[in-house]
Amino acid sequence: MYRIDKSRLAELFAAISGNQDLFLPLRKADQTNYGLWSEEECFDLDTLKTVKSAKDCFFPQSEVLYRCKNEDGKLSIDPQKLCDRPFVVFGMRACDVKAIEVLDRVFLSDPVDTFYAARREHGTIVSLACHEPEETCFCKNFGIDAAEPGADVETWIIEDGLYWKPLTEKGEALTVSLAGLLENADAASTPDAAEKAEKAVAKEQSSIREIIEKLPLSHLDLSRFKPENTMELFDSPLWEELYKPCLACGTCTFVCPTCQCYDIRDFDGGKNGVQRYRCWDSCMYSDFTMMAHGNLRTSQMQRFRQRFMHKLVYYPANNDGLYSCVGCGRCVSKCPASLNIVKVIKKMGGEA
């Protein structure tokens, strides 16, 4: 365990970004989102939920796959260079960390998505425990502990200090590179400091868990969402009722840390050739499954159902029961029509 004064965070960030890129929540135009740190930027570790998750750091909203030129009828393909610069994502909450695991299972399964894999390989995640989880949080339902966020390094901000605990080799390496800044609170070398730190963290953790226990959405009944109930859930008449307010926008999917649908498109840049890029797509969009000859999901109800069936039934069926929802609650606070997965879970789960 290590510790650094909160007042020295800027120094810490400067040190990290000396060797690599550093992404962390930045306050810009009244909103907090992950962004590339520089001294001019204003970081914000107090806002619990960035608008978009840290998903962008590994799976950017839009990325070029390759460029293709046609010169006198001869094609040439120039694949986009894979990420080869190490970077650190700082301040990811437990839910977002868990979301990366959800994404890993998609992108790292065979055939590996090399663009994603390269970023995962070069990225070190420093997580941050949620000092005060909010009423929109429901991570507990998915076995996530906001008090112990995991990843390569996990940290806690307690009063005027940041407590730093490397968990993996990558985390250790990062810690070593910051040796001058982080005060050692290791049991072997500084037992007193270690004890103090352990205590502080333990206290913080129990406080966090206590809050979570009391949160209104912490105790959802997910028992019905099992692969064997697929058809029953699929055919439920409740979808007709649930989807009605849905505007078919993509807010929920774009703020979601686990939504990974994408589209592949061409941009004809004229003399620069054609760029094939992929960008996030949303299964809520009316043209998601639109093909030249027809659309397999013609109504918003079907699209709405797909999103939640995927998160709660289809994905777990393929991934050892792991839900592709991490309870971050972004959709709860951002949906323009106040729809969200919690309402679906409650309604379909028989609670409401």
Binding site: F267, G269, G270, K271, N272, Q275
Partner: protein, 146 residues
């Protein structure tokens, strides 16, 4: 000493209505009234055919200025087309300006079939203005840039 050729050659798209301004440009041509080669004309039936999308597209693709020429108000071949153009472009230009895009990059000019001279002077003026403003960077799509 090596002189680097860094002279700014703006890309300028001129939309000209078929009945007045395109003919005006033809007249400028047959009267040998010169204007910079940076101006490239696209023929449209009427100035009211010009969709704001076209103008934005031109900027996206690296145009430095877009000028729209039509018949004088009241003289539209289709009676009323340029009146709509006038409103549409006034509002669009005002919006571009509001977003901080230099207003000199867009212009509407009424040029009749008989105004070869006006066509040429207008183009000369416009190109000069674009030279003054320099390269368009605010509405450009970097993917279209070298």
């Amino acid at each position: 000493m090596q002189v680097e050729n860094t002279e700014f050659r703006p890309k300028i798209v001129a939309f000209c209505c078929n009945w007045c301004s395109y003919a005006g440009a033809d007249l400028a041509g047959s009267s040998r009234l010169a204007y910079p080669a940076d101006v490239k004309i696209i023929r449209v039936p009427c100035s009211c055919r010009v969709n704001p999308m076209f103008i934005l597209r031109a900027f996206q693709r690296g145009a430095d200025g877009v000028i729209l020429c039509g018949c004088h108000p009241g003289d539209c071949h289709y009676t009323t087309g340029n009146y709509y153009t006038r409103r549409r472009m006034t509002l669009l230009f005002s919006m571009l300006d509001y977003l901080g895009v230099e207003h000199g990059r867009t212009r509407v000019e009424w040029v009749s079939a008989a105004e070869g001279v006006k066509f040429s002077t207008t183009m000369n003026e416009f190109v000069a203005k674009i030279h003054e403003l320099g390269e368009n960077v605010r509405l450009e799509d970097l993917r279209c840039k070298n």
